[in-house]
Symmetry: D2
Amino acid sequence: MTKGVKIVTIGGGSSYTPELMEGFIKRYEELPIREIWLVDIEDGKEKLEIVGEMAQRMWDASPYDVKIHLTLDRREALKDANFVTTQFRVGLLDARVKDERIPLSYGMVGQETNGAGGILKAFRTIPIILSIVKDMKELCPNAWLVNFANPSGMVTDAIIRYGKWEKVIGLCNVPVMAMMQEPKLIGKTLDELVYSFAGINHFHWHRVQDLEGKDVTSQIIDRLYEKYNGLPANIFDVPFFKEQLKQMNLIPCGYHRYYYRYEEMLDHLLQEYNDPNVGTRAQQVKQTEAELFELYKDPNLYHKPEQLAKRGGAYYSDAACETIASIYANKNTHIVVSTKNNGAVPDLAPDDVVEVSAYIGAAGARPIAFGSLPPSERGWLQVMKNMELCVEEAAVTGDYGLALQAFTINPLIPSGETAIRVLDELLIAHKKYLPQFAEKIAELEAAGITVKDEIARNLSKEEVVNV
Amino acid sequence: MTKGVKIVTIGGGSSYTPELMEGFIKRYEELPIREIWLVDIEDGKEKLEIVGEMAQRMWDASPYDVKIHLTLDRREALKDANFVTTQFRVGLLDARVKDERIPLSYGMVGQETNGAGGILKAFRTIPIILSIVKDMKELCPNAWLVNFANPSGMVTDAIIRYGKWEKVIGLCNVPVMAMMQEPKLIGKTLDELVYSFAGINHFHWHRVQDLEGKDVTSQIIDRLYEKYNGLPANIFDVPFFKEQLKQMNLIPCGYHRYYYRYEEMLDHLLQEYNDPNVGTRAQQVKQTEAELFELYKDPNLYHKPEQLAKRGGAYYSDAACETIASIYANKNTHIVVSTKNNGAVPDLAPDDVVEVSAYIGAAGARPIAFGSLPPSERGWLQVMKNMELCVEEAAVTGDYGLALQAFTINPLIPSGETAIRVLDELLIAHKKYLPQFAEKIAELEAAGITVKDEIARNLSKEEVVNV
Amino acid sequence: MTKGVKIVTIGGGSSYTPELMEGFIKRYEELPIREIWLVDIEDGKEKLEIVGEMAQRMWDASPYDVKIHLTLDRREALKDANFVTTQFRVGLLDARVKDERIPLSYGMVGQETNGAGGILKAFRTIPIILSIVKDMKELCPNAWLVNFANPSGMVTDAIIRYGKWEKVIGLCNVPVMAMMQEPKLIGKTLDELVYSFAGINHFHWHRVQDLEGKDVTSQIIDRLYEKYNGLPANIFDVPFFKEQLKQMNLIPCGYHRYYYRYEEMLDHLLQEYNDPNVGTRAQQVKQTEAELFELYKDPNLYHKPEQLAKRGGAYYSDAACETIASIYANKNTHIVVSTKNNGAVPDLAPDDVVEVSAYIGAAGARPIAFGSLPPSERGWLQVMKNMELCVEEAAVTGDYGLALQAFTINPLIPSGETAIRVLDELLIAHKKYLPQFAEKIAELEAAGITVKDEIARNLSKEEVVNV
Amino acid sequence: MTKGVKIVTIGGGSSYTPELMEGFIKRYEELPIREIWLVDIEDGKEKLEIVGEMAQRMWDASPYDVKIHLTLDRREALKDANFVTTQFRVGLLDARVKDERIPLSYGMVGQETNGAGGILKAFRTIPIILSIVKDMKELCPNAWLVNFANPSGMVTDAIIRYGKWEKVIGLCNVPVMAMMQEPKLIGKTLDELVYSFAGINHFHWHRVQDLEGKDVTSQIIDRLYEKYNGLPANIFDVPFFKEQLKQMNLIPCGYHRYYYRYEEMLDHLLQEYNDPNVGTRAQQVKQTEAELFELYKDPNLYHKPEQLAKRGGAYYSDAACETIASIYANKNTHIVVSTKNNGAVPDLAPDDVVEVSAYIGAAGARPIAFGSLPPSERGWLQVMKNMELCVEEAAVTGDYGLALQAFTINPLIPSGETAIRVLDELLIAHKKYLPQFAEKIAELEAAGITVKDEIARNLSKEEVVNV
């Protein structure tokens, strides 16, 4: 490496960028950054400028001399990068509004990484990430790609499987939050416990041992029913069934609520959807975002504002910084990441991407072999991973039948005519970002299919006008 | 073998017994039967006598001298049996009414082999089949057990896994019906096609080749949308989505409708449930059964009445007779059976019971290796098989947490409080047959939980009184 | 299919061809052949003519009107073929002499399908079979390829793996001979037993059950030590260790002697090698072949001469005819064939070619799932199959390091300098047929490496002169 | 834990004990030891006393107050132990002499952990380790067992598989030595490289990456052919074939020489065996040991003598101390250990013990998922692991047929009559330690089988007299 590290952040205009800067500043001694490039697209130019100036102010207020470059030219930025982080959202928050509202308008879970919404997000994101990988092969073939664009697991899997790019690590803040909150419950610090995670992104379980090697998972489970606040802000906090958790003797991840408490999670989402004063998560986030960007505009603000923690992805960026520092300084830090299985979860194929406990160092992620899961977790994990494989292939090929297969086996989507309708409306609503499905979308439009949900429909219209 | 074959039928008072007799009479030349023992329990004594006399009349009208023995003493019957068939229904049709109505009273699929009903049926049936196996080890250790007690797959799996009894074959009429109906669709006879089935009971797919080895699955799929009548009488005929079938290039089984067209199947079940003039399938069947037994009482009836075909299980018994004859005469007939996987479906463990194309002969079932299924089918098959494993273990241990796990991962049961409620009511309703869950049931009763559905509640009451 | 079947035999000048003709004549009623094309290369032209005329005489003496076509133009022959059989030997028997004598000259097993000789035979044969497959894709894309060119397992595997041709069945006479001889040992006919084979070509085991489903393997093993003559003529008959066979409760194949009785088999081979009046098997066979061709020249001979049975491959052709007839007439015959695993032997990958019991019909081979083998057989099978994979890849790529890897893990080749020397001499000796290794061979020649064994060296010289 | 750690060393009279003490003294600050118990058997009493006094002197010369307890009463020692290390050798060095000389007297590899010798060592050691585990379950159920009794892999596997004891880690010095020597070859320190090991004990491979994640295995391989001295003292240093190593792009372990250079290793062993002035390794070691014990007797010696490094097991004890300290202080050190696979090497079963890179901390070993090996390594690893399974089961059951199976598939034992003879003589020679084979041994003795090698025969006689 030439002196100092070059970091490129695609989707640099994100409201999370200040957290990323804070993480880098904190770790500068072990990760001596030379320059940071924030890349965004035309539609995000304004945000990029606001957040870019904020980022530069943060560095200027630090003891370190780091230059922030802002650009809409991805290829210019990627040249000779050492680390590329991806945090973009294709279609911005408006796309998320549609991913949420269209399924909910038919009484189905509308969520950005689970269910129908997550599938459509993958359809939009995978082609873009593959084009980034293509650029990286040419412009920075030795760089590491640290992805936290969602759905992080499928995106990471597609990068390896279809992009044939092995130097990638996928990140998520969910395990971080569990490890921040749980130890307190049993009067321990994280250093006094050993965590082992296994599964896939937003669908993993963990067990915990103490320093004498004793399993304390059950003890934590007991305390979870007394007090707990370890969920990302975007997940409604309905408790798991205690008899179930005690039986599995594993702690599910926050997102597992959608699967273990489907009924209540759906009710909650529908309640927000139906209340015009609340709206779905994306609508709430749009508000938070607007506020954040107002704050960022303040030329006297040179540190991450507290309000950022309200966003569901809090700590995401911190995990990213720690991952990058661990690779650079060969720290062998225990981080839970999306990486190639290699056998760590023997119930899935060795070349599937999984989300597991790993030690992160110069060689990237070294996943810890967890062993087979019990039948109840194993079966469910297998259907979810295979669903992901269908989604990825459909994202690459635009095969509608396969999209339908993915919808059908997804546990959050009741199959039938309504599911078809939801799929079709989502395709139409995201038309701009789904060239691979162009033919099918034309056919649906010709058949007169339109988006029922008014808000989603109007957002779709605007978009078309804008382009 | 001593001269002639001794056959024992447990659940001999079933309305299907005449079909079984017909099947044996038809095959007498290759399967020379010496004696048939029909066994039933006290509650089924009256039916046993009616059907037993009918059976004897059928044989008397045949050229063969076969004696029908009727008994309530299972152990007496099993002594030195060559083949034991099991077709009993623990709790008779009333139990099925509860399996259907209790879930439906909460808007969930109520069906006797799928969803909550199927799980409860397994809870009741597995302990009984294991006690039969225990008797067989003592009284007829060389006999073959041919099971068609439902849920046939889980029951067969439990026989091998927990009963440690390897000489068993599980049967189902669903593949038979597909092979009877589909060839006509493309102007062929069954002899002109090669069928390959893979999956588990009530959850399998098949592909078809012609005599030149060419895959004609897609051709059959096309014709299925023109005309088709290959479903068992108990499955509502809503078509699969054509784009989905064309993508998979496999034909799902009839029961797959519950998974691929969940919404419409549930609507249909609810419609029947809510219509007092129709009622759920069990209620309809009770009517058919009553009519059948009226017919059977006729001392001049000595052949299987046509009305029997209306029952969903038609051809079940024929498959059983063909299986027995194939073992006895080493015929190597292609039959689709539940048997130990041994690798035939590499996506499941070698010791899982699967339902696959097999050649049946003196060595029992020799399953044909099908190869890996594509991701969409693979993942779903894996979750279903693992759900079965949870159900079986819960049936053996009475572990409520595991019952809950099975409910949770079952694709036909939306998880949440309602699922818990359905499970709890079902446990209470079937109390008499669930000694393994006695402690939990007592706890539920103490908590004041009662069955909401009036019909189911009343049936449960009667039962308690009767015992 | 147009009226009547067109069969093409590549390596038609083989001395086995009359057996093939006999097999077709015997099955004409179920396999109505229209025409047979015997194809050979320039070097085999004389033999082709002798055997071709003999073949025509055989048909002329039959009630059937079938025309034998002789050609050196493979592509002309392949046009619209229904079945293609491959029985060629690259380099003719002289190549086999070298495969045997060169290893033996260094005290190593020299055998045409096992050890160093088998590996070199694969190196010569795989490129040719892949070129045949390439022609078939163009000229007869619906034909079945029935291979009995050795090493049959690796050749069949390469056809599927590298040739991407799925309509292939690999054959061997070893299982046939076991099934012909063993039943008598326990006073049974083959019809009274159920055979189950699992493994790979020349490295498989079988178990046997009687018509009551009882395992009689152990009983056969006991009798094997009393009297037995079920070996191909080319395998020296040293008995297996009885305590070992009783422990495994499986019957190994004849070729397993090389592995279970390595010491004695090697001694025997060396004894023949060192006795100028005997010579290695290929030298003996050359004599038998010369005699056979003398016989074939007799214009009055119109049936297969008895002397043919002395060749090791007896019944090979009969198995081929039965396979073809079973496919054509959808007979579902139990034949042991090399075919894609699909899970039949779960200890190997689903896409590995294995040699297993299969039912042969219109859809080709349907392998029977055998289940996992015990550790002793499993481990050995795994090393052998993986050795095959190395050989095949080296045959395709000419990678010398990989050839060395294959030599190293092959249980019949003690690793070390001598193994290298044997490999190098074999490469030089077969130079004409190993263009993929041309560069390495040039290097070896430049280093002055020559063939030590005089007979092998002289044969190599002639060959070079001839070309 | 009560204050301070209690360590129990079984086989405490070993000449390696001083190294162990040194390791503990060095790590006292992170591993505060309270007391150390050295346990041995009656036959080793004298050595125990010598080495025990030496050990106490070492601690007395340190700043720490640790008491060494010497005992022949294993159960007394085990009470409330925190860590138990096992380094015993059943039958002492005399048994090793026999393991080496008997095979060599028939021209076969005689080596204490590979080939026939290693199998017999497992037969003697496994029953003893299982009896230790039985005691531990009763007396110190929370202790960790750190095994370096050889054959370390099979012993560790048997502890988990048959002993049902999960808190065990198996150790070996071979990976340590590779990691000490190789980095220098490319001008690096160990800190500047990332090592990944996979395989089983004495049969593993590794790859190496630098701090930029680049694979430098090939670079190290190149330098290995220039200068290298990274082998344990007990392995003859014949180089691997370079073309082979470059092809695999992995570095085999030192013991792999027996497999990759069988011929030369055998020649070397035979040369030593046949030279009365040299003798086999055990004979040489006996000399070294005698010298060491003479040194240990010196009351002024209170540090590990340099001569100890001559023993093949050097650094073994250091690895053990580091492992114990890493568990105690939850250090997450990268150590290569024998531990349950859990998927780390997907080519073996999840419950097989493998030897892999792992992070060692409070939860024991967390193996790093390595992914599938290429065919050449995969196949060989599979046959070796399955051989181990046969050995372990034969060690537990005394099944002679299975012992024969293990001998047969072991790549270092040419099968045949001679192998049988070697097995039989070894059984007789080790009679005292093989009660599980008593019946077969009596049969062999009755048949007049005696040990051919004079030295081994005489050692066997003495032993019988002594007991």
